[in-house]
Symmetry: C2
Subunit: 342 residues, 2 copies
DNA sequence: AATAAGCGAGAAAGCGTTTTCTCAGAGGGT
DNA sequence: ACCCTCTGAGAAAACGCTTTCTCGCTTATT
């Protein structure tokens, strides 16, 4: 067996011995499950206090079949959006006595299922945040993860609660905003290939194209962070576009920085929009026009949906599908273009 | 006992039965600990694969006495500095097969010890990040947390590995920078009362005062986030200071925003400095002069120090005390004051 | 007063692993 | 041919807890 009971941490047996009762009774007192003689209960509590006894959560988890922990897997912990979700989730869960275990897939699609599975085995449930995996894989994985909440992704077959944002609508509104300012040549700096929210933006922009055939709209491959925005600077300049729709605020900020380095003024020469409205978006130079996603609510709502499943006594699921609409935040990074288009 | 073994997840017993061996043998095969007949091993592996067997980590943890998880407790998960540390820690730990459990004390000092204790019981070690608790309490708590790594805090009696930043030196350099620009009336917007790094800044500023008796240096109570910086705007204006040393970048950004609302120009009317150099500091309006802390290294180094303790076979500790010096980042939020002081 | 009912505490099983202990059988040495 | 050693697999204990089961004791009922 494992380590011999040399200088072991104080366990239930120690308390039982000190109080002169069986460990079953100690357990009963600590959990208040069954009726225990008040005198004995007091003796047990005194012994526990004196020994500073704290139940071992691992033993407890094994016996109870629950860990009071949920896992969250995110594609990139450096992204403020995911940080905010994590924070909201953690705080909400803590209020109900749950902890959160984190897993960062670092945008490595093939790792997601493994990380999620591992997390699920250690936890009572999993929040899968913006998974990059394919629909088929997700569909197959979802049931095995069961108390599962999806963020920025939905399943069809398996009825899993999900939280989503209407990125398609948001990007259309941003494009519309640029057009109404007078822009005629737009560029979309797309996000990670496997990002579902990126696909939603693309679908939204297709719709936009249909409604505005007169507007030129280019697509440029990008990424999801500062650096990818920064790296796109020259491609953006070469594109001749005057209204740039960045995949998110981070990309927009990287681009802002790159344009500044090249001496190109925003918004005088080029207008730039972000997406998400991360807390810093209003502090950029210039403050960023963006579509605000309620990132603070996302985390806490994810916990609520998770809790509903965990507490569920086993009957009707009634899985909620929550959808949020982004809210336009018009700031200083967008303005009418200086030159009339051809 | 707990739930009856109704439709249970597949366990080691199922694999054993399918392979026609005892579960002890299955365990041996899965862990490769003892010699097992190659034929039997193959049979076991086939059975495990067919049943998609994955060992239950909780049972494993109980038997092994380890969870392959470490905890981190931070005062505020909304702070990008702690987010960066968390991220660095998580990624580094993941590389060695460890996960991280998070606990956010929300700046409630009295919660820290409890959260840390709980985390320690569930995990193989704890990283205590910028704890706000008193020295006495920390000294007392440290041994009970044992595989422990401290960030922004040290212990004297108990020899615990710690990572610290020389905030005292950093704040002096920032003050010196303002003075060399011509500022004569400085204001320090102090941080959370119980923050050790705030105390270090105060000590550094005391030193600064001795070396520059001609400079007026006021202290104003503040906080550690956007809002506290924002709320201080009027007090800052009333102070008459021209060079403002904010507790950190977040406070500085809040102040920037407040000053902008009042129509006060930075750096023309007032110069502002931050601290930490969070990723967004270079994108503020104007870009923030600050003292850069190597936040990316902090997390990964914390893991290295933790791993050293976990792997330690029990002999000589040799606990490392790492100290970093902040690096000045002079940007656009500081400039020579417009008016000569009286 | 005798029996039923009820309360409460100990014994023991069970949660899912790992690991020691034990022992059967194979193989080699004398 | 016999005994000893060695390999390797099963039995069982251990990890630390919760909870069912069981049973002794007290109290109420007729």
């Amino acid at each position: 067996m494992a380590r011999r009971n040399t200088n072991r941490r104080v366990g239930i047996a120690d308390v039982a011995e000190k109080a002169g009762v069986s460990h079953a009774t100690v357990s009963r007192v600590m959990n208040g499950n069954a009726a225990v003689d008040p005198g004995i209960a007091a003796r047990v509590r005194a012994a526990a206090a004196e020994l500073k006894y704290q139940p071992n959560p691992v033993g407890r988890s094994l016996a109870l079949g629950k860990t009071d922990t949920i896992g969250i897997v995110v594609p990139d912990l450096a992204n403020p959006t995911f940080q905010a979700i994590l924070r909201g989730l953690s705080i909400a869960a803590a209020q109900d006595g749950y902890r959160v275990l984190i897993a960062d897939s670092s945008e490595v699609t093939s790792e997601e299922a493994i990380l999620a599975g591992e997390a699920r085995r250690r936890c009572d449930g999993v929040v899968l945040c913006a998974p990059r995996m394919g629909d088929a894989e997700l569909e197959e994985l979802a049931p095995t993860l069961h108390p599962l909440v999806l963020i920025n992704r939905t399943t069809i077959a398996t009825n899993t609660p999900s939280l989503s944002v209407d990125y398609g609508q948001g990007i259309q509104e941003l494009a519309q905003h640029l057009v109404s300012l007078g822009h005629r040549r737009l560029v979309f700096l797309s996000g990670p290939e496997h990002s579902a929210s990126n696909r939603q933006r693309l679908v939204g922009l297709d719709q936009f194209r249909k409604e505005h055939p007169e507007i030129e709209l280019q697509m440029l491959p990008g990424g999801s962070n500062f650096d990818s925005g920064h790296e796109c600077t020259d491609a953006i300049i070469a594109s001749g576009g005057t209204g740039i729709l960045a995949f998110n605020d981070l990309v927009a900020m990287g681009l802002l920085s790159g344009l500044h380095e090249r001496g190109i003024r925003v918004p005088e020469d080029i207008s730039v929009t972000g997406f998400d409205d991360i807390p810093f978006a209003k502090y950029t130079t210039p403050p960023l026009t963006t579509a605000a996603v309620p990132i603070n609510e996302l985390g806490s709502l994810a916990w609520r949906r998770m809790r509903e499943q965990i507490q569920q006594t086993g009957d009707a699921p009634a899985q909620a599908q929550d959808e949020f609409s982004p809210r336009m935040e018009i700031r200083k990074s967008t303005a009418a273009p200086a030159l009339k288009p051809a």
